[in-house]
Symmetry: C2
Subunit: 431 residues, 2 copies
């Protein structure tokens, strides 16, 4: 065995020990949190917000060093921007914690209660998941947001953020832990992996028994790595190759507003539109108006041959374009001959996130809602609404694109599971 492999094995062993130690501490905290009252949890969230604001100067000083380092290391501007905190962003994090405190507590809710013929009373009750692992990139705001949501739902959280934000995360987590202690809750409800190497991410993905669920937050590559490698159950979030289909029976003015909003209002997020499908019957009227409006906003269009007949200046879309989540001011455009073709295209290329039809045709609307296989399906609205807050679920921890456990925006309820409480008077089974 080469020396490199030997030291790698040592690093893996050390990472496993670290994660097991954190796992054991998180598990112990989770057992306490499971019975913490809403009052205690809300008091802790408010204290955490105060501690965050008190530590603001220190957090910003530490953070400045980190984003300047990232800038000097030649990281892209978008990366540096996500890493960088400002007074307004720290206030936003504190406000987020206060908002979570004001949401109803999902824990303890009765899902159903049945009295069985033999007299057994069976209650299905909402309980915390236990220990949640979050693997994310260098976005320090996720640290406070995720900790707040996990705590409110009665869970301990192990945070494994990007290494470029390690010192910032340390400062944030220590203020959150101070808030927990002041409120009489275990500080270990919020734990940071202080060695953000690949080995600790791998160890977290293998920590069955210590971690009940892993939620990766970040780019498509991070999420795919976690989904592929994790032995802990994962909730896949975030990738949104979203479509808008402008039907033959669309109100074209409405369609233009919706398409503009879905592409341009915030192109870097998962619920932004990436491909526009236009029915052939309205292509001559719609495409030129759409191109004028979107190109004026800086959008680069890529079209199928039938789009390019009408808009010859547009670059040809390749097979890859139909499958790409640009997260940028780029839009793939295709002319289709029917609703069926639109649905088939979406079900083939879509990521199951958010899909919209613009139409005044009742049957087309219903068929689109029924047959498109995605977490969120829309008639006559922008896909940009796919969001826990917009859906009235309070804050969200992410948007699930898998079908197991949670699909679509995930709020506090999605950070819980159930437990069956059975009340007997001596019943035994006879059959």
């Amino acid at each position: 065995m080469a020396t490199g492999q030997g030291s790698e094995a040592a690093a893996v062993g050390e990472a496993q020990r670290l994660i097991e130690e954190l796992g054991a501490r998180a598990r112990a905290a989770a057992r306490q949190l499971a019975h913490a009252s809403s009052q205690a949890k809300d008091a802790a969230l408010l204290r955490m917000a105060e501690e965050l604001v008190s530590a603001q100067d220190e957090i910003l000083r530490i953070n400045q060093q980190e984003w300047e380092d990232a800038q000097q290391a030649g990281r892209p501007a978008a990366f540096v921007d996500r890493l960088r905190l400002t007074p307004a962003r720290v206030r936003g994090m504190a406000q987020g914690l206060r908002s979570v405190a004001s949401l109803p507590d999902p824990v303890g809710e009765g899902l159903w209660r049945r009295v069985r013929p033999n007299g057994l009373v069976i209650e299905a009750v909402r309980v915390p998941l236990g220990v949640i692992g979050i693997i994310y990139e260098a976005r320090p705001n996720v640290t406070a947001d995720a900790a707040g949501l996990c705590l409110k739902a009665g869970n301990a959280v192990i945070l494994r953020g990007g290494h470029e934000a390690l010192q910032t995360n340390r400062a944030i987590v220590s203020s959150l832990r101070r808030g927990l202690e002041q409120a009489g809750l275990p500080a270990d409800a919020v734990l940071l992996v202080e060695r953000p190497e690949r080995a600790t991410a791998v160890a977290l993905m293998q920590a069955r028994g210590w971690v009940d669920v892993l939620i990766p937050r970040g780019g498509a590559q991070l999420i795919q790595t976690v989904v592929q490698e994790s032995k802990v159950p994962v909730i896949e979030t975030g990738v949104g190759n979203c479509h808008t289909y402008v039907d033959a029976a669309a109100d074209l003015d409405m369609a233009l507003e919706i398409v503009y909003n879905a592409k341009c209002q915030r192109p870097s997020v998962c619920n932004a539109m990436e491909t526009l499908l236009v029915h052939a019957a309205v292509a001559d009227r719609f495409l030129p108006a759409m191109a004028a409006r979107l190109e004026a906003a800086g959008v680069e269009l890529r079209g199928c041959p039938r789009v390019r007949e009408r808009l010859p200046h547009v670059r040809e879309a390749t097979e890859e374009d139909w499958a790409t989540e640009y997260l940028d001011l780029i839009l793939a455009v295709k002319v289709v001959d029917s609703l069926d073709e639109a649905i088939a295209h979406i079900n083939h290329y879509g990521s199951g996130h958010s899909e919209a039809i613009v139409t005044r045709d009742y049957l087309a609307a219903q068929r689109f809602l029924d047959e498109v296989d995605a977490a969120c399906v829309y008639v006559n609205a922008s896909t940009r609404f796919s969001d826990g807050e917009q859906f009235g679920m309070g804050a969200e921890i992410g948007i699930s694109t898998q079908k197991l456990h949670a699909r679509g925006p995930m709020g506090l309820e999605e950070l819980t599971t159930r437990k069956f409480r059975v009340y007997g008077q001596g019943q035994v089974r006879k059959d």
Copy 2:
């Protein structure tokens, strides 16, 4: 590369192609099933039951060859018994399909509906999961049971049973597919992996995009393999290291009945008790009566030193005993000094399946229900009730011991997910 590895790689490639072909057929069937009416699905279930009964003689003839082969190959009696079909068992499978037809259809149920301040109407609606993979051992009854439940919930199913039952499964699946066709539903709603080698199981575990969820059914080793290796989301089922705790304040007559039932009524199943915990205050009175009753039923006891002080003939329990799911007439017994010690033991050694306390003490009962971390927690009843039918959920596909998606008995609702249907009038996002 050795030749062996080369041919193994070829086998893996072939298995992947087979599973992808089945996956594509299942996906196409699932899209049709998602909009099949309850009437159509129930008609199909009844036709499937009839076809099964019509084919009974042929199925039994094929099955006899298989169980005789297994017997000659020296397979254990319990294995041969699970593989073997009888006229009564085939009738039971048909009756199971008819029962599923009589259950309410979970698909289309509205989970909630909200009108948002901007006028958007958001509905959360129950929809099928899509394509479900079942990996199981040589138990042909699972073939019909799983197919019926998956179909009723609008899902296509890919069945990968043990190779010892391949011909029996073929005969069962072809009768089920005839029933589907007669009812006008796609036969590909039920697909059998006709090459039950390890490579096809591996390919099924890697079939992300084709298979939405895998449910392993069988022994602990099969389940652990699937949990460890699968890249498709898995629901972990079945392992039950279940405890009964006889509290200081227990009604000891009731405790004896519950303990006897939990251990002896059907020792081979996951909700049977494996470890008995007895409070020291009642050990002198309870242990001799318990030993007399259970040993008369053929139970072998294994005890901690304090049990052996009272029952010197009992063999000493090792650390391994506390962690073992015997599935047999063996019981580990431990004396504890407190409710806290009982809860700590259960949370340390238990598999999170079903745990019971026998007590007349209100606070002890509530603390046990709150603090034991398991899918099903009982006061004064036998753990043997952990079962979808016993809980009033209709038939069950298994009992989940994980927290994600479903925990505890899984019925039809647990074979569904949700979809958000959003009705707009041109709304776009402004913030």
